[in-house]
């Protein structure tokens, strides 16, 4: 019995919980779990196109998850990845639609613009925290809304494409499209960029002074401050880098998949990224694995909705439950078991 309980408190328990809840969501929608799961799995992994879509979602989730992990490691709750991603995408899409430079330079430029846009958005919250002590949770959340309205305003007005029907920019010139990674799918090399960032972050976290200071500031801020870490600088810098990573993600969605900026381009990647980061235990390489798992849920969820009539929102409920369940484990990991009675 104890062995069973121990097994259930680990990843196996989490997966079992997800399976049970998904089954319930399917039964409630009038679909048998067998039909629902086969629709989900086929939709996520059933062929080249499906795998392509799963990896597109993986890539889109990986950027914000990595950014969030960096901030969380520093003890900063960046809940604003959604807005940072959107502003990064807006910078890339807004400039990309009117760009006239050679293709490869343009692509690099647009990805950098994504980083600048997202980084700027993260830095605002970081600066507010460092300068005025403003709570970064609320600041990053508020900035999500400001980003959404700013983007909506710009692409329904000055940045609106001449032929666009909705709130979106003109199409990017095909020379600025990210090369396709998997032929005949929408998957671009954006995924490789994300994985490269994951490896860089792994190195930063484990091998650099910045990574060490970040962890120190997150786990023992007072000790870090007394040992000479400039907490104010670290605060805005880590929120800026965190936002920049999400911003590059937004830029890869624009240059890699949509080829234009659209206000609807993220169905909440910045929030689901929190779940991905937590499942990956804030470790960049595990986050890559977690992002693939969530990519399956995202892409499969859409297919499940289309072919088995189970609303895809059920997936989001389950992702929320995963966050809630993992909130317990994170606490133990971050502050040491000794602190808990």
């Amino acid at each position: 019995m104890i062995r069973v309980r121990r097994a259930l408190s680990g990843p196996a328990g989490a997966i079992l919980l997800v399976l049970v809840l998904m089954s319930l969501a399917m039964i409630a929608a009038g679909t048998s779990p067998v039909e629902g799961f086969s629709a989900l799995l086929y939709g996520a992994l059933g062929g080249r196109n499906q795998i392509g879509e799963t990896l597109v979602a993986t890539s889109a989730l990986l950027f914000p998850a990595l950014g969030i992990a960096l901030a969380f490691r520093g003890g900063l709750f960046n809940i604003g990845a959604e807005g940072q991603l959107l502003i990064g995408a807006l910078f890339a899409g807004g400039v990309g639609a009117q760009l006239h430079v050679p293709g490869p330079i343009g692509i690099v430029l647009l990805l950098c613009l994504g980083a600048i846009g997202g980084g700027l958005w993260g830095a605002i919250a970081g600066w507010m925290k460092a300068q005025f002590g403003a709570n970064e949770i609320i600041a990053t959340l508020m900035l999500n809304f400001v980003a959404a309205y700013l983007a909506l305003d710009l692409v329904s007005g000055p940045l609106k494409g001449p032929l666009a029907a909705g709130a979106e920019t003109a199409w990017l010139d095909p020379t600025y499209w990210l090369p396709t990674l998997l032929p005949h799918t929408r998957l671009s090399i954006g995924l490789l960029v994300a994985i490269a960032i994951a490896f860089v972050l792994h190195w930063v976290f484990t091998r650099t002074v910045f990574g060490y200071d970040l962890r120190a500031a997150g786990e023992a801020p007072e000790a870090a401050r007394r040992s000479g870490v400039n907490i104010a600088r670290l605060t805005w810098l880590s929120l800026a880098i965190s936002g920049a990573i999400s911003g590059v993600g937004g830029a890869t969605i624009v240059t890699g998949e949509l080829h234009r900026f659209n206000t609807q381009l993220s169905p909440g990647y910045g929030f689901i990224g929190i779940a991905v980061a937590l499942v990956g235990d804030l470790q960049p390489l595990w986050i890559c694995v977690a992002a693939f798992g969530f990519g399956i849920l995202e892409a499969g969820g859409l297919a499940m909705q289309a072919s088995a009539q189970v609303p895809k929102d059920a997936i989001h409920v389950i992702e929320g439950i995963i966050i809630l369940v993992l909130a317990a484990r994170r606490y133990v990991a971050a502050r040491g078991v000794g602190d808990i009675e």
Binding site: N135, Y149, I323, A327, A328
Partner: protein, 285 residues
């Protein structure tokens, strides 16, 4: 003149759900639990009020069930925060995603349409009672927190739960009560949005009000009356946004919608640093 009257009325209407949520934030944080899940609790209250009103044609029953739904979500956070000692910020974020997703899922199952519910029986002209009630509850909470033994115990939980335990009381149980009440208040605020101000639920209708309420809690220095004033101020900016809409040609309409959020950001930067949260706010016991 007419414009000012409209602005005042709209400020009260827009401020009311913020007051409820902010009061919920105050009592939760006073007990030592940061309630990032206010947004989700509002959404659950709004959604439940609509489906119950749809099923029973009784908006009053809908209102009651909205409050209960908010309280249940509050209880979920309370148990997570006390029994399981979770990281409250992360748990609250999870709750927000669960509630938004759950309501969206429920909309498709019940109404066969994504995005919004059908129109249901609403409180109609009686909604003003809820506006008055918001202020009454604010005064009541001020009295309860500062002039009753129970209020003292709740505040002590937020400052020093060990002292509460040493006095022979159960701080965890007090936190469970406080966070459940917090959820009920947020649920009431959400129900006001869906069947008070309007007569339907639509995805994303809470639009960050739970987070603005958290800013109001800080701006109001974790004090019921202070948070209420702050909520009214943020309600004013939301009202101003509506009133200015279309009146100033050079100001684009979508940018104006960001006004309440920018106001909250500026307030946050202006006030914090000079205010102090309860000492054990957000620290599991």
């Amino acid at each position: 003149m007419e414009l000012i009257a409209t602005l005042v009325l709209l400020t009260l209407i827009k401020g009311t759900p913020l007051i409820y949520a902010a009061l919920g934030g105050v009592i939760s944080e006073r007990s030592g639990v940061i309630n990032i899940g206010l947004e989700g609790m509002m959404a659950m209250g709004a959604f439940t009020a609509v489906i119950v009103s749809f099923a029973t044609h009784s908006p009053l029953l809908g209102l009651a069930c909205g409050v209960i739904a908010g309280a249940l979500v509050g209880l979920l956070l309370a148990i997570a925060a006390t029994r399981f000692k979770v990281d409250q910020i992360v748990a609250g974020t999870g709750i927000n995603i669960i509630c938004a997703g759950g309501a969206a899922y429920g909309l498709v199952l019940l109404f066969n349409q994504p995005g919004a519910s059908v129109q249901v029986a609403a409180l109609g002209a009686n909604y003003w009672i809820l506006i008055v009630l918001a202020f009454v509850l604010a005064i009541a909470m001020q009295v309860v927190l500062y002039a009753t033994p129970w209020g003292l115990r709740v505040r002590a939980c937020g400052e020093n739960p060990k002292a509460v335990a040493a006095a022979g009381l159960d701080p965890l149980l007090l936190r469970v009560y406080a966070v459940t009440i917090s959820g009920a208040l947020a649920g009431l605020g959400g129900a006001f949005l869906s069947i008070g101000e309007l007569n339907l639920y639509s995805d994303g209708m809470t639009a960050g009000r739970g987070f603005i309420a958290l800013a109001a809690v800080i701006f109001g220095r974790w004090n019921p009356l202070g948070a209420t004033v702050a909520a009214v101020v943020f309600g004013f900016f939301e009202a101003l946004q509506y009133v200015l809409q279309g009146r100033i040609p050079w100001l684009p309409s979508d940018a104006l919608q960001a006004l309440p959020y920018i106001a909250a950001l500026i307030a946050l930067a202006g006030i914090t640093g000079r205010v102090r949260p309860p000492a054990s706010d957000g620290v599991p016991y």
